[in-house]
Symmetry: C2
Subunit: 132 residues, 2 copies
DNA sequence: TACATAATGTTATATTATAACAATTTTAAT
DNA sequence: ATTAAAATTGTTATAATATAACATTATGTA
């Protein structure tokens, strides 16, 4: 489970929107959605997003500049993330596969770098879109 | 080896700059560098970048919005990419590890998605920066 | 209380990327 | 060589993503 962070008002508003969304949300789409709640400026959104990413409640899908709630009850922070992305319908799913995460967390390359974090994005077609 | 693509003038100019750079370059930094060669507009840069990515001559480092020349003589196109990124000095290296690429290319998750592509970015400290 | 830290609000601006359209060059088939 | 299609280029404008800087307010904690 996530360590409990007491989210602030803005953080909670923005987390709720992302958490309820079936698809990753972009910062300005979030901004548009929260203007009725008094959050008026991009920076207010970005600050909340930064914090939510930092504490592992959401992840950024780098290839899409969009944010998704963490689906993975066993991850405390966002140090090891993997996603599958359908290039047709843009559905994004967080992959929770212990074989994969073990393999990647233990990966060492010849350059001798010490890795503390990784992000993996798979692209392809989801079941629904394959049959179309 | 790469399939030979005869690069156009703009593509060649922009590829050369990226290829000679020891670090990933951002689009507007490239633009600044090629203005003396007659490339004046962002779109000219982005179009060349898009094409170079498409044919596998360069890769985009998604977490940095920057571009690096392909270091991997065995990759035809950019369907299976992995990078190590030093969070201190920002050095980026393309990982060429057949065990890793086999593992990821064969990866199937329970959702049954058919993957045609992946991108993996490792973050940490490079040898030099660890000892600092 | 009072200090430090974190979060907020606000304006302005920086950075990254694409739309739309016209013109030119290249390719490949006749 | 001719020509039609496809790719590339040039250009202006604008959209989309993200941060700087600074003043203020709220929260945690000694």
């Amino acid at each position: 489970m996530h360590k409990e962070h007491n989210l602030t008002k803005n953080q909670q508003i923005i987390f709720d929107i992302i958490d309820r969304s079936p698809e990753p949300l972009k910062a300005y789409s979030i901004l548009f959605n929260v203007q009725k709640k008094g959050i008026k400026a991009p920076l207010q959104v970005y600050r909340a997003l930064d914090k939510l990413v930092e504490i592992g409640k959401i992840h950024k899908i780098e290839s899409r500049n969009a944010f998704i709630a963490c689906q993975n009850s066993s991850c405390q922070v966002s140090k090891a993330t993997a996603f599958s992305i359908c290039e047709s319908c843009e559905k994004v799913t967080e992959i929770n596969n212990s074989s994969l995460s073990k393999y990647l967390s233990n990966f060492k390359d010849k350059a001798g770098m010490k890795y503390s974090k990784y992000n993996l994005e798979f692209f392809g077609l989801c079941k629904k879109c394959i049959t179309k």
